[in-house]
């Protein structure tokens, strides 16, 4: 408490720090008070029993009456140590509820209290009889809790005239009142004010002490409630650990889950609940590290109880900061989900098994369907091609339509199998370097007949100088054909269908392919679900003449397996455009295993070229994969990289390897390749020529810059090499 507390009390000086964070401050108050105290706390702060002792002691010592009032100046509780004059009058005519408790014959609340609370200072007031009292404000922050009033004494000798008037008004004997008043020793106003100051200090000090005690009791109750709550939780293990991972609290759920009682495990390291394998690979330490780095960590895994029985737990570790205090450490919440996991695994297994059965079944059905389909196909084409004799035009037309239907059936059989493969995760793509423009051109030529049947104009818009893509040509063809078939299906007669390729403006690592029709458009709510399998099956009624309608679903799966995405933009009545993206072939990505920081710094990145004598015609398709296989076996797989065909000019003669090797290493590789090809090519027609170029990288720059530099160099070397090879000799 400040030693220079004057009669006036600066309200904020008495704000106890704890109130700022008190949990039971109910709301932010109006502008006059920033903190609102709950009614129950107010009542508790002014608890009469608690105040009685300090008030009676003060009253007896100072020889004054003393009492508590509410902020409006009304008496709260009793008047301690009442003085004779007041007692006499009050016994005859008790002060009503609204009147000032310490003024005789005044029927308004104590004006001194109101003034004292308003000014935050001690205020003196004297009544008609000449009785004086001081009002001392009780403030907590800006909260006006009430006041203490003290007095009922004369501040000078009583005047007979006033006494007589008061006696008359209150109905007591004037003689008797005067006798009492005469014997009451006056206390000077100065002393009264000084004692008021003292009372003010006492009152505020006590108020704060009481406030602190209430908060503490409340916190104690809260802690106890939390402990009961934590202990009562049975299905979760809840415990805390110190920074080293030693258990510092352990709830009932943990006892039940692990079989250790709290007393038995407190202070032990929590690694005792891990499996021996996890302990050996430092999982507990790693988890603590991760939790303190990130604030929290989550994990699922095996944990071990006291009886060595393992269960599968979901674990949440949260770091406790405690402002650097003694309770820093970790809180752990754990749930035993062994059963849930078992059920989930069993369901997944069942699902997989069902999908496998479905695939086996569909694969069988597909095989069985294809056999008669093939016979029909041959008979139809034989008749159509005139092998069995001339065909009148009308029969030709009908048989052509029959052949179209065979083609549709064939696609449906393929789609059925693809659909199952999506579920068994067997729908695979085998990406290679490919020219998207070339693929689109191929597809367009096969789709022309189909488009011509509806007089649809099929055109393409292919941007110049497109990079090659990293994609599975057969699958990309399948996607484009799907989209074109769809477009034809929904285009009006004589409509135009455009297939295009451009770079993706937002991301240069992708090309965007699109198929645009002038059909009826797709409503916004259908734009997402058309890629959905079930939605397609439902809507397939209208599309039943053109396959199962699974094309978009399969296309989406295929695009996503390439790392791209597929979407549609559409305007009702104006047509739709389907877009999908394919990754651009990237030498840097391909060479990533070689382009490690060590290799780049060590200057040991080498481009090896293997040239063979030209392989012509049909042998090409046969021999190329075999040569690649031989070359693949001569390098360190996972370390060195055999590049895909870098040019689609046939015949292919050059193969490229990006390796991490010095000159001696290169000699070893060259020897291996020579022997490998010799074994494979006993007639020695390939005549391999093997060369190497070591790539020197500038010392400065980041890893990214170095990779860009090296790959640019590799591309340049390959380009020059291919140009030299292709030039006729």
């Amino acid at each position: 408490m400040n030693s220079d507390v004057p009669g006036r009390i600066g309200a904020s000086e008495y704000l106890p720090p704890a109130i700022q964070s008190a949990t039971f401050v109910t709301s932010q108050g109006d502008e006059s008070s920033s903190i609102e105290l709950s009614p129950s706390l107010r009542a508790d702060l002014l608890d009469l029993g608690a105040w009685a002792e300090i008030l009676t002691t003060y009253g007896r010592t100072m020889r004054v009456a003393v009492a508590l009032t509410d902020p409006q100046g009304r008496l709260v509780g009793e008047c301690h140590n009442p003085q004779p004059v007041w007692k006499l009058v009050n016994d005859a005519a008790p002060v009503g509820g609204e009147g000032c408790p310490f003024c005789i014959t005044t029927h308004v609340p104590c004006t001194a209290v109101v003034a004292a609370l308003q000014g935050g200072e001690v205020v003196v007031v004297r009544d008609q009889a000449g009785l004086t009292h001081v009002a001392v404000p009780l403030l907590l922050g800006k909260q006006r809790l009430g006041a203490i009033i003290a007095g009922q004494v004369f501040d000078r000798y009583p005047e007979p005239l006033s006494i007589r008037r008061v006696a008359k008004e209150s109905g007591v004997s004037a003689q008797q009142l005067w006798e009492v008043a005469r014997r009451q020793v006056p206390i000077s106003r100065t002393i009264l004010l000084a004692s008021g100051d003292l009372l003010c200090v006492l009152g505020q000090a006590y108020l704060q002490q009481r406030y602190g005690a209430i908060i503490e009791a409340e916190l104690g109750r809260t802690n106890r409630r939390y402990r009961l709550l934590v202990d009562g939780v049975r299905d979760y293990a809840l415990f805390t650990m110190d920074l080293e991972g030693r258990v510092s609290s352990w709830n009932g759920g943990a006892e039940r889950m692990f079989g250790y009682v709290a007393a038995g495990i407190m202070g032990q390291n929590f690694s005792c609940i891990f499996t021996p394998e996890d302990i050996a690979s430092h999982v507990p330490e790693k988890q603590l590290h991760q939790a303190s780095e990130a604030g929290r960590t989550e994990d699922e895994g095996w944990r071990v109880g006291r009886n060595r029985q393992q269960f599968w737990a979901n674990v949440n570790i949260t770091a406790l900061f405690d402002d650097g205090g003694p309770d820093r450490g970790f809180a752990v919440i754990m749930q035993d989900i062994t059963e849930r996991r078992r059920v989930a695994l069993a369901m997944e297994e069942t699902r997989q098994e069902r999908a496998r059965l479905q695939e086996t079944f569909l694969s069988h059905v597909s095989h069985e369907l294809r056999t008669p389909l093939t016979a029909i196909h041959f008979f139809l084409t034989n008749v159509l091609d005139g092998i069995t004799g001339d065909l009148p035009p009308q029969q030709h037309e009908h048989l052509s339509l029959a052949l179209d239907n065979v083609k549709q059936l064939k696609d449906m059989v393929r789609d059925l199998l693809d659909i199952t493969r999506v579920e068994t995760l067997k729908l695979t793509v085998e990406p290679q370097q490919a020219s998207a423009a070339k693929l689109v051109a191929e597809v367009l030529s096969t789709c022309r007949t189909n488009a011509a049947l509806k007089n649809i104009n099929l055109r393409s818009e292919i941007a110049p100088d497109l990079p090659l893509v990293w994609a599975d040509p057969a699958r990309v063809r399948q996607i484009i054909i799907n989209l074109i078939d769809n477009g034809i299906k929904f285009s009006p007669e004589r409509g135009t269908l455009t297939v295009g390729i451009r770079r993706l403006a937002e991301d240069v690592r992708f090309l965007c392919l699109w198929v645009s029709d002038a059909g009826c458009g797709i409503s916004p709510e259908n734009r997402e679900i058309i890629f959905d399998r079930l939605a397609q099956i439902r809507s397939s009624v209208e599309a039943s003449r053109s396959g199962l309608g699974l094309g978009l679903f399969i296309s989406r799966e295929l695009v996503s397996r390439h790392g791209g995405r597929i979407w549609v933009e559409s305007k009702m009545g104006h047509g739709s455009t389907f877009y999908f993206t394919l990754p651009v072939f990237s030498l840097a990505k391909m060479c990533a295993p070689v382009l490690t920081p060590q290799n780049l710094d060590g200057g040991s990145v080498t481009l090896i070229t293997v040239d063979v004598a030209a392989i012509e015609g049909s042998d090409q398709a046969n021999i190329l994969p075999k040569i690649r296989k031989v070359l693949g076996g001569c390098i360190h797989s996972g370390q060195d990289v055999l590049l895909p065909a870098m040019s689609d000019v046939e015949p292919v003669r050059s193969f490229f390897i990006v390796a991490c090797t010095g000159l001696s290493g290169f000699n070893a590789i060259a020897k291996r390749i020579g022997l490998g090809l010799q074994n494979f090519d006993s007639a020695s027609t390939l005549k391999p020529v093997i060369c190497s170029t070591t790539l020197v990288v500038g010392a400065g720059g980041s890893r990214e810059e170095k990779i860009i530099e090296v790959t640019a160099r590799i591309e340049q070397l390959i380009e020059v090499h291919l140009l030299n090879e292709e030039r006729p000799k």
């Binding site: 069985e368 294809r370 093939t374 041959f378 084409t381």
Partner: protein
């Protein structure tokens, strides 16, 4: 007629009939076998220039037949094209690894299929005269 002889090994009579007609129309001699056992005997007897082989055969898998063909000195050099209703994924690689020169899934594209036959027989495609495919 160029007189090259093709052996079709397939148990589906209708396929045999349809494919035979097409191949004959393209000037080939066609012989056939309908099961794994007779296939080898017919192949040895007829000494075809090319074999078209189905994989699902009575009395033995087509891959076994392919193995036998490649293992017999008289037949090892004969090119084999697999024409199967089975799925290309996996089967194509198995067939090529066992020595087939091409794999076609049923029903094949006529143009590509005959192109492969001509290539296997070493015929110059541009000069061949054949019916519309």
């Amino acid at each position: 007629m160029n007189g090259k002889k093709i052996l079709i090994i397939d148990d589906d009579q209708h396929l045999l009939m349809g494919l035979t007609a097409r191949l004959k129309a393209n000037g080939y001699d066609v012989v056939s076998a309908t099961d794994a056992i007779s296939a080898i005997a017919v192949a040895l007897k007829e000494a075809p220039d090319l074999v078209i082989l189905d994989l699902g055969l009575p009395a033995g898998d087509g891959l076994l037949v392919l193995g036998r063909i490649k293992g017999l000195a008289d037949l090892a050099a004969t090119p084999v094209i697999v024409l199967s209703a089975r799925d290309p994924s996996g089967n194509e690689k198995r067939a090529l690894d066992a020595g087939a020169i091409a794999f076609f899934q049923k029903p094949p594209d006529n143009h590509e299929f005959l192109g492969a036959i001509r290539q296997a027989l070493g015929e110059n495609i541009a000069l061949s005269t054949f019916l519309k495919t």
